[in-house]
Each structure stands twice: as structure tokens, then as C-alpha cells.
């Protein structure tokens, strides 16, 4: 769920689906080297861990029921990350592709919208700032 260690994407995605599954969809979020035109050096994710764990668990459970998928796995890294490193990985196994894609999309969107994690970006020009993307727990169209 929440980890302070490097995410091994290959290992995470290698999880074997149930034989009834014909689809596996995944999303991998990576630290990008720019934000609003500024060159990003690295970033720090602060996390309210016990609540974040519960939120992610709830999001995955609701998506699993809503889209009738077999399994949803999520791992989100916190602490210091460098450009190019994996921040989050999501894996969905299901009978067919439509629900696998839908569930995967919904899980990442809900995590970005409601999970108590905050990103502080450090730029190559030496400045840094907290990045506010979403208002936790409320609807927002910003991504």
C-alpha cells in the first residue's frame, strides 16, 4: 500500500491473475522532470499514513465491487523520490478489458483526489514548493 522503498514495477506487475481473468490493466505513475515549465530535480511525498492506507483500501474495495473486477493492487511510495522513479503502481485483474481499464482509471483518479499525501517539488533552480492539486475529499475537476 504505502512504501518508503523503491517500487519494483516488474515484480509488482508480475502478480499472476486468477485463471478466470482475461485482462490485466495497470497504471504506473512516474516522477516527471518538469512542472508548469519549471525543471524538477526531485520531490518529497508527505503522507498521513494510517489514513492513507485506509483510504486506498476503501477506494480499491469500492472499485472492485463497482466494476466487478477480480483483484486490485495498489502501491504508493512516499518520502524522497528522484525524477524517473515510480511514485505509484496500480494493477487490476478482471474477466474482460473494459472493466479492467475503468477500474484502474477510477482508482488513480480517486487516489489523486482523496488520499492524504502531499507533494513538495524541488526545482533545479534551487526553489521548492508544496504542490496543491486537489481539495481532499471534495469534487474537483483539476488534475
Amino acid at each position: 500500500m504505502i512504501t518508503h522503498e523503491l517500487i519494483d514495477t516488474a515484480q509488482f506487475l508480475s502478480r499472476q491473475p486468477d485463471p478466470s481473468c482475461g485482462a490485466s490493466a495497470s497504471f504506473v505513475g512516474i516522477v516527471r522532470n518538469e512542472h508548469d515549465g519549471k525543471a524538477v530535480e526531485r520531490l518529497f511525498y508527505e503522507c498521513y499514513e494510517p489514513m492513507a492506507e485506509k483510504q486506498i483500501e476503501g477506494i480499491a474495495a469500492r472499485a472492485k465491487t463497482k466494476w466487478s473486477v477480480r483483484d486490485i493492487q495498489v502501491i504508493h511510495r512516499v518520502g524522497w523520490l528522484d525524477v524517473g522513479e515510480v511514485a505509484i503502481a496500480i494493477l487490476v485483474h478482471s474477466g474482460h478489458r473494459d472493466e479492467a481499464f475503468s477500474a484502474c482509471r477510477e482508482v488513480i483518479d480517486e487516489i489523486k483526489r482523496t488520499v492524504p499525501i502531499w507533494k513538495r517539488e524541488v526545482y533545479r533552480d534551487g526553489t521548492e514548493q508544496w504542490v496543491s492539486c486537489e481539495h481532499a475529499g471534495r469534487h474537483s475537476s483539476r488534475r
Partner: protein, 79 residues
């Protein structure tokens, strides 16, 4: 009654602490407690906080109880 309040991200930096225990009157809402804590603090007036009590989202009208853990959550940016 005593409530523990948790601060995160820019709020933690501005207040220079990650948590604080506060004494409140019975029946105090999250909104009132939050206003008391942040009163007079520059740079906080326009932050649209969300609130959690005991690790669950609550609205501003939620009535706090003794030993509750209130978290003031700035806009999130995970994922």
C-alpha cells in the same frame, strides 16, 4: 475535553509543529476548533482545508469528542 490536532505539509511548516493537544469546550465543532487554531496566522486564510477525525473525512459541522484526533488536511497532491 482534549483533542489532538495533526498538521501536514505547508500547514506543518507554517505552524512549526506536526501536532498539538488542545482543550475545547464540549460540543465544539471542527470548524470552530480549526478557526481557533488558525486565527491570526498569515497565509492560512485561503487554504481550503478538508478535515478528518480519527482517520475518516468529516465535514466542518462535525462535533468533536474527548480524545478525538483531528487532522487538518491541505489540498492533496499524491498519485
Amino acid at each position: 475535553m482534549t483533542v489532538k490536532v495533526l498538521f501536514f505539509a505547508h500547514l506543518k511548516e507554517i505552524l512549526k509543529r506536526s501536532e498539538q493537544a488542545i482543550e475545547l469546550e464540549e460540543g465544539t465543532t471542527v470548524e470552530t476548533a480549526s478557526r481557533q487554531l488558525l486565527e491570526g496566522r498569515e497565509g492560512l486564510a485561503n487554504i481550503p482545508f478538508a478535515f478528518a477525525v480519527n482517520e475518516k473525512f468529516v465535514n466542518a459541522q462535525y462535533t468533536l469528542k474527548d480524545q478525538d484526533v483531528l487532522a487538518l488536511l491541505p489540498p492533496v497532491s499524491g498519485g
